[in-house]
């Protein structure tokens, strides 16, 4: 999977203007050629090792695990990558492809800003022009990442159309690409969009599962029983699943953003609370109204606030190979606090959705099978520094010193 034209059974494909077909064909051909070129992988491997900091550690969360039934929980530390999340894995690969295609400009969409920062970083590294589209709502709530991108030399465009979030940033990037495709590569940040992006981004994120397999084999002499990740578009989850999809002994769990609860309609859980449709060039589960107009998604996490999901996840859900559940804002924030206080690791709110899912799953498994001690790897896709403002507001912390001492009244 996918088939040669990008279908995962009924999902995926290419629902795009004809003007983009030539560029998608070029990208697919270049990726196929690069995949067979040892020099391409050698350069990418060098960047992963010596620039990004791979392999990332697998940290056993002893104190956190006590809240997860009998599960032994290990954290795949994608938060320790350069730029603070798994996004750099995909960006470095696509940036090298951009150079191979002789293009000198990259554009990207971003929600929380993690993918935008990673793209701006790779553009700086390879000397490329970079423009990042970001919804106006997101530029307001993630101002720090806007500044980071600007410091890296990228131009940040606030998108004021539609719902002014990630989906509208993708629309605007697509419009830019239609007009600039000769010189520009659209560096999509997740396993979504038209073929070949879902396949290509999965292959650049696959390194997460390859390392997990090697690390648990070395430390525990076996593969994990369960791997888990948060799912917005789904790139860290596809990277976490990729090497295990063909091995039914490893259970795959994806946790979507349930917002205020799927039953309230204010959520971003496209698989749990959506239906099959076409958005952003792919057929997949989307949030849509009776007419097929895209509905606004809601999540405390800007990076999961997207009304669609990568087509391979739709296929894994439809076939039952992977299980998807929704995690609410409140559950995610409780897990954010718990991991921070028990392990001294502050996760991105996106990743906190996966942690909350694992707490619930571990407790459920302990009730169902009290004698089993599952080995669970959860992808800690990013670090929480960018979310400090959101968390301080959410928890109602004062944000100023608790006590003052030594001053003169």
């Amino acid at each position: 999977m996918p088939d040669p034209v990008g279908h995962f059974d009924i999902f995926g494909g290419r629902y795009v203007p004809e003007a983009l077909i030539a560029a998608l064909d070029q990208l697919d051909a270049e990726f196929t050629a690069a995949s067979a070129d040892p020099a391409f992988w050698a350069e990418l491997d060098d960047l992963r090792r010596n620039y990004s900091g791979r392999p990332t550690p697998l940290t056993e969360a002893h104190r956190f695990s006590r809240h997860c039934g009998n599960a032994r929980v290990l954290l795949k530390r994608e938060d320790l990558n350069h730029t603070g999340s798994h996004k750099i894995n995909n960006v470095l690969g696509q940036a090298l492809l951009t150079r191979r295609m002789g293009k000198t400009r990259v554009i990207a969409e971003t929600g929380a800003g993690q993918h935008g920062v990673a793209t701006a970083t790779a553009a700086a590294l390879l000397g490329m022009e970079c423009r990042v589209y970001m919804g106006k709502v997101d530029t307001d709530r993630q101002a720090l990442n806007v500044a980071r991108m600007q410091l890296l030399g990228a131009e940040v465009v606030a998108v004021e159309s539609g719902s002014q979030t990630l989906k509208d940033a993708m629309n605007e990037a697509m419009r830019d690409w239609v007009a600039s495709v000769d010189s520009t590569h659209y560096l999509i940040g997740t396993v979504a969009g038209p073929h070949p992006f879902p396949k290509l981004v999965r292959e650049f994120q696959r390194v997460i599962s390859t390392e997990i397999a090697a690390q648990t084999t070395e430390r525990f002499g076996r593969l994990p029983d369960i791997v888990a990740a948060c799912v917005g578009g789904g790139s860290n989850a596809m990277g976490t699943f990729a090497d295990f999809v063909d091995n039914p002994q490893v259970a795959l769990y994806g946790f979507e953003a349930g917002g205020e609860g799927v039953e309230t309609g204010r959520h971003a859980a496209s698989i749990q609370g959506g239906s099959v449709g076409v958005l952003h060039g792919m057929r997949t589960y989307i949030l849509q109204d009776a007419d097929g107009q895209t509905m606004e998604s809601h999540s405390i996490s800007a990076g999961l606030d997207y009304p669609g999901v990568g087509p391979e996840h739709a296929w894994l859900a439809a076939t039952g190979r992977a299980r998807y559940e929704a995690v609410t804002d409140a559950e995610a924030m409780a897990a954010f606090e718990l991991l921070t206080r028990t392990e001294g690791i502050m996760p991105a709110i996106e990743s906190a959705h996966a942690l909350a899912g694992v707490i619930r799953l571990g407790q459920r498994l302990a009730a169902e099978q009290p004698d089993v001690e599952p080995l669970v790897v959860v992808c800690l896709s990013g670090r929480g520094d960018k979310d400090v403002d959101t968390a301080v507001k959410y928890f109602g912390l004062p944000g100023h010193p608790d006590v003052y001492t030594g001053g003169v009244a």
Binding site: V5, R14, Y15, P17, E18, A23, R175, V181, G292
Partner: protein, 286 residues
């Protein structure tokens, strides 16, 4: 490619939108294809604007063929002007079914009508049901900006069953193979996007559109070609129809509607009338 003739629900004839091109050709000129979205400035207001576009008020000769836009939340092929009108139409409550009333209004004004919209709306309505209701309203076909023939299995079947035109886009970046395959899959005419860009964009390379049309003529000789994107006045329309069978205009018709809406008089169509008059004169220049 053939100009299909079918029957609508009450048994009267409806024809392929290609007849609009052929009628203009018989007058020794290119066809003027005009785009307006249903639901803007309101559903009722858009029906009135469509009548003005058709010249049914007697003020202008009107356009030869109407392209009715069905607004969508995520229109990736549309520039800011069409986006703004579409977003407002959605905020004001336009629904998919309203497009059929718009088709009937255009037909009553004596012009053939095609619908242009993004695939998810048709997919959600059901390709067969959409084709049936479009044919019953007297519509001639559908333009699909984000559906290429490669993904169009459901639509090829539904349009075959109803005899509706299926108008696909070709672009300057389309390979020769894709131009041939797209022309073979299409019915009615081909929509050539003149520049690499979204609606409302001006041509960066003045040679891209004539070169694309020449390539289509060579590769698919019997195909009617309309050229769209970037044409806003009579002079440009005259330039385009010198080498293409028709010229497609959208944003230029919507701008005066936006201006009237923003001035607080959404039912003032005098600006629209002036643009229709200019463009209709443009395609009639020797």
């Amino acid at each position: 490619m053939s100009a299909a003739v079918g029957h609508d629900g009450d048994g009267s004839l409806f024809r392929s939108s290609a007849t609009a091109f052929e009628a203009a050709k018989a007058e020794g000129r290119g066809a003027l294809v005009g785009y307006l979205p249903v639901g803007y400035p309101s559903v009722a207001g858009s029906l009135e604007a469509l009548r003005v576009l058709c010249g049914a008020d007697g003020a202008t000769p009107g356009v030869d063929l109407v392209e009715i836009g069905l607004p969508y939340s995520d229109p990736v092929m549309d520039g800011p002007v069409i986006q703004r009108a579409g977003t407002r139409a959605l905020q004001r409550g336009v629904r998919t079914a309203d497009v059929f009333a718009a088709v009937e209004a255009v037909r009553a004004a004596g012009r053939p009508a095609v619908v242009m919209t993004y695939w998810n709306l048709v997919d959600r309505y059901g390709a067969d049901a959409f084709a049936r209701d479009l044919a019953n309203a007297g519509g001639s076909g559908l333009i699909t900006p984000d559906l290429v023939p490669d993904e169009a299995g459901d639509w090829l079947a539904a349009s075959d069953a109803t005899g509706l035109d299926r108008i696909f886009l070709v672009s300057p970046s389309s390979t020769d193979e894709r131009v041939v395959a797209t022309a073979a899959a299409a019915r009615g005419w081909l929509y050539a996007t003149s520049v690499m860009g979204v609606t409302g964009t001006r041509s960066a390379s003045p040679t891209a559109a004539p070169e694309l049309v020449a390539r289509i003529r060579r590769l698919a000789p019997d195909t009617l070609v309309g050229v769209g994107l970037g044409v806003s006045n009579g002079d440009q329309a005259a330039e385009v129809t010198a080498y293409a069978d028709g010229v497609i205009v959208g944003s230029a018709f919507i701008k005066p509607l936006l201006a009237a809406d923003e001035a607080g008089s959404p039912d003032d169509f005098s600006g629209l009338r002036a643009v229709v008059a200019d463009l209709a004169e443009g395609v009639r220049r020797g």
